[in-house]
């Protein structure tokens, strides 16, 4: 009876004999492709963010450096509203530039392309 039970158990627990499931393999491969695509998008976004951060830092440094010049410093103290307007226009331009770059790298677009 013991042998009979052991044979019953071993036969019941062994994985069934069959050919590889090609549909499952294809599903895994599709998942991997999507994962790779999303990771590439993430890497691209991090890179773009770093570039944008450097750009903002460079612009801020340039503004500080300009304001330290005596002529511009005097102009700023005489008409701060005009200087503020120039800074706002420059800031809007930077925002427009960055947002147009970001929309061309949208992960949603990459996902729908996949």
């Amino acid at each position: 009876m013991a042998d009979e039970f052991d044979a019953f158990l071993a036969a019941g627990l062994a994985p069934e004999e069959r050919e590889p499931d090609r549909a499952f393999v294809a599903r895994v491969q599709a998942g991997i492709r999507l994962d790779e695509q999303l990771r590439a998008e993430r890497r691209g976004m991090v890179g773009a963010l770093a570039v944008q951060f450097l750009g903002v830092v460079a612009i801020a440094a340039a503004i500080v450096w300009l304001l330290r010049a005596p002529e511009i410093g005097a102009f700023a103290s005489e008409s701060p509203a005009f200087l503020l307007l120039i800074l706002l226009i420059a800031f809007s331009f930077v925002i427009m530039l960055f947002s147009s770059g970001a929309s061309s790298q949208s992960p949603v677009r990459a996902f729908s392309d996949a």
């Binding site: 039970f5 019953f8 499931d21």
Partner: protein, 170 residues
């Protein structure tokens, strides 16, 4: 077995270098035992999702496979962790399904018997008695001392034998 490990190691290294065709060969070779094991662990409908997630993680970590263990052991340990994560995420759905299986079971089939065992009893029994794993491999996977694993298997077999005898002769 060593040559199989070497072959799998070579495929895994190619996969780590980005060769998806090499990885597809590993998936072809190991999807059958992995999915069989996961479906034996209950919640058959999510077994394929867990298997797919495990293969995705194996792809990402392909460079970490060093060939010291069998590829199936390495892969199953990834799947086991995925399953534990899934249990934490959806404990109620999985437990409800297991309870349903146990309730429906008559005790005559292996799946009925497994439904009445604990998680670790079931896993150790399936791996060691059905998939040809060594006790050491199963103990490492389940995080049990070797002696505890052996007694777990003995207890599980004894309970299955009782159910089988009851169904056959009772």
């Amino acid at each position: 077995m060593a040559s199989q490990n070497d072959e799998d190691l070579a495929l895994s290294r190619r996969a780590a270098a980005g060769d998806s065709a090499a990885f597809a060969m590993l998936v072809e070779n190991y999807e059958r035992p992995l999915r069989a094991f996961l479906s034996r662990m209950g919640a058959a409908d999510i077994a394929d999702d867990i298997a797919q997630e495990a293969f995705l993680k194996a792809w990402r970590a392909a460079g970490q496979y060093d060939g010291s263990a069998r590829y199936s052991t390495w892969l199953t340990s990834i799947a086991w962790r995925c399953r534990l994560d899934e249990l934490r995420r959806r404990p109620r759905a999985i437990e409800a399904q297991k309870a349903e299986q146990a309730e429906d079971s008559s005790g005559a089939e292996v799946s009925d018997m497994l439904a009445r065992l604990s998680d670790k009893e079931r896993a150790s029994l399936v791996l060691c008695e059905g998939h040809g794993w060594t006790h050491q491999e199963a103990a490492e996977l389940l995080g049990l001392p070797l002696g505890t694993l052996k007694s777990t298997i003995a207890r599980a077999k004894s309970r299955c034998r009782e159910m089988w005898s009851g169904a056959a002769y009772g």
